[in-house]
């Protein structure tokens, strides 16, 4: 039970990051490897606003999401757009986003230095002891805000014009173009939204993990794993994948072997991919002949 509960907050973070992968992947077909570094950037901006400029938590969260969202748009304009115009193969896009990750990480290193920074939890991290089980306020906050962010995303996709355009593009890019959807704009929206999602994950995770310039690599990879387990491109799948991975890691680390924890996770992942290539939680339509 305790293992399961421990998996929830980290699972929520994975879910948010997984969502940011899925969002970009479905709407623009890009595997964006810089997603983890958007998480890092979000955490640093949140840290700077709350610790240096003494903002309170909520405005810092929102401001950080906006700033990182803008970074997402810049990435889309400067990198994805020319790649698309040249019809570059997908592997080039992956490498370009890797380049973005390297640049972001090292700029962060130059600005904020190599030391880890403390980002105090807005609600404190005293544990709540419920008989055998203990949970911190921050854990509860992470799960709640995580779910809130996911709900807002769902609302955005379902009920706003931009969201609807995104979904149309995700369904069928060519058809969406014919229907008059501006795919450049929808790409920009997708990059902005998923970078902002990443930033929110960064701020949520910062009080638990501290803020370091290389925190993005690990979270990014795990978020990607969660997205794939759930089925890249499926929003409920990504959420389920995030929580699933969080609990799985908690159990594997506690019950089997801590050193091999990630190895177990990945082995399971490869097994999942082998048996069900489109992810655990969605049923993908067969390839059309």
């Amino acid at each position: 039970m305790q293992y399961f509960l421990n998996g929830l907050p980290i699972g929520a973070i994975y879910a948010v990051v997984a969502l940011s992968y899925s969002l970009i992947y479905t709407s623009s077909g890009v595997l964006n490897w810089s997603q983890g570094d958007m998480v890092m950037l979000g955490a640093y901006i949140g840290f700077t606003l709350t610790q240096v400029f003494h903002w309170s938590f909520t405005p810092a969260l929102l401001a950080s999401m906006v700033v990182v969202g803008l970074v997402g748009v810049i990435v889309q304009r400067l990198i994805l757009k020319p790649l698309r115009e040249r019809k570059a193969p997908p592997i080039n896009v992956v490498i370009a986003t890797l380049g973005v990750a390297i640049i972001t990480r090292n700029i962060a290193l130059a600005i904020w230095g190599p030391d880890a920074q403390v980002f105090p939890s807005p609600v404190g991290d005293k544990p709540l002891q419920l008989s055998m089980i203990s949970v911190t306020h921050q854990d509860i906050l992470v799960v709640c805000v995580g779910i809130l962010v996911m709900a807002i995303l769902q609302y955005f996709l379902k009920y706003t014009k931009e969201g609807k355009a995104l979904r149309a593009v995700a369904q069928d890019r060519r058809a969406a173009v014919l229907m008059g959807v501006d795919t450049q704009k929808s790409d920009a929206v997708a990059f902005a939204a998923s970078a902002a999602l990443g930033a929110s994950a960064g701020i949520l995770v910062a009080p638990i993990f501290f803020v370091t310039f290389n925190m993005g690599a690990g979270i990014g990879l795990k978020g990607f794993v969660a997205a794939v387990i759930g089925g890249l491109g499926s929003i409920p799948g990504s959420i389920a994948g995030g929580f699933f991975l969080g609990t799985l890691e908690s159990l594997a680390g506690g019950q089997i072997s801590s050193g091999y924890r990630d190895a177990i996770t990945f082995a399971l992942l490869i097994l999942v991919l082998w048996l069900k290539p489109s992810g655990l939680f969605i049923t993908k339509s067969r390839q059309k002949v």
């Binding site: 592997i91 990750a101 990607f224 082995a267 490869i270 082998w274």
Partner: protein, 330 residues
């Protein structure tokens, strides 16, 4: 024109002479060290080009086979006093077996799913090496990997290694070239372009995909055994995800649908990451920028620019005599 054919041949001879005499002109052994390192990496990139460029199976876990090659050969040499020349085939074989192993789930996968499976395999391999301390010595790594001997000459200096590595890279390049410019390479390309159509034309796609994984793994395994004796030590830190990514970048930047691209990309990026040391803190930023620039403006890699370059040369009579080569059918 025959004179151009002759010029082409002369060019090859000059190139060969430069390659063989290079250590004489380089008194700074640091440069030779980097060249040797790039030579070892070239083997990995050659395999990766056959796998990713030709067959279209992107691998972000190539460091795993590299690691398997290093550890298998080094452990054989350390514990069983087996000669380098026997340890190498064993390492290649072992890497090949693991190549087939990951090739099996990879048969069904593509795009990000395949990327993730290969990333996962790379991480599993690294974690096993890290945690299986009884055999691999864990994070401390293997030390005192014996030096190879060739006809009772002990290979010790950077120059010795240069000739050893160049000889193996030469054979590796030749094999890769033969594979790429034959029925096999053509079939690989067909699989990359359209698996279903290739299958419908009688190509046993799964077998070829596994073969591509095995070949690329064997190349990385070969590189690994060379790396072990070259570095003298090996630890899990040598075989991280970042290394896999670096190999992939070499392959794409050079041009992953050609054999020459593998060599160009590897040397360029290996030298670049060293040359940028001068820029200290910003060097990785510059490195990232160069990566982005290349993949955007040279989508087929640097070697993909060759036809353009060739056209330019064709218009310069002198340069034409020296460098222009008749385009081959492929």
């Amino acid at each position: 024109m025959d004179i151009y054919r002759l010029a082409g041949r002369k060019f090859n001879i000059i190139l060969l002479a430069i390659v063989l005499l290079l250590p004489l002109f380089i008194s700074n052994l640091y440069y030779l060290h980097i060249i040797n390192l790039a030579g070892i990496y070239t083997l990995i990139t050659l395999g990766l080009n056959l796998l990713s460029g030709y067959t279209g199976q992107v691998s972000m876990g190539q460091a795993a086979y590299f690691a398997i090659g290093t550890y298998v050969s080094a452990l054989l040499m350390i514990h069983f006093q087996i000669s380098f020349w026997l340890a190498v085939p064993a390492a290649i074989l072992a890497a090949g077996v693991f190549g087939a192993l990951i090739g099996i789930p990879a048969m069904k996968l593509s795009g990000p799913y395949l990327v993730l499976a290969t990333v996962g395999f790379g991480e599993i391999t690294r974690l096993v090496i890290l945690n299986w301390t009884a055999v691999t010595k864990g994070a401390a790594g293997l030390t005192a990997i014996p030096l190879p001997t060739f006809l009772s000459i002990k290979i010790t200096s950077e120059q010795d290694f240069y000739y050893l590595i160049i000889a193996i890279v030469f054979v590796g390049t030749y094999i890769a070239y033969r594979l790429a410019h034959s029925k096999i390479g053509r079939t690989f390309s067909a699989i990359r372009e359209d698996e279903l159509a290739a299958e419908a034309m009688g190509v046993p796609v799964n077998m070829y995909k596994i073969a591509a994984f095995v070949i690329s793994a064997m190349y990385a395994g070969m590189a690994g055994s060379l790396f072990g004796v070259f570095a003298g030590v090996a630890s899990p830190d040598n075989f991280t995800f970042d290394d896999s990514v670096a190999f992939l970048c070499m392959s794409v930047v050079g041009g992953n649908r050609s054999i020459a691209g593998a060599i160009i990309g590897t040397f360029l990026l290996t030298v670049l990451s060293e040359a940028l040391r001068t820029f200290q803190a910003y060097r990785l930023v510059i490195y990232g920028g160069i990566l982005i620039f290349t993949v955007i403006y040279m989508p087929q890699g640097i070697y993909g620019m060759a036809p353009i370059f060739n056209k330019w040369i064709e218009r310069q009579p002198f340069a034409k005599l020296l460098f222009w080569q008749k385009p081959s059918r492929e």
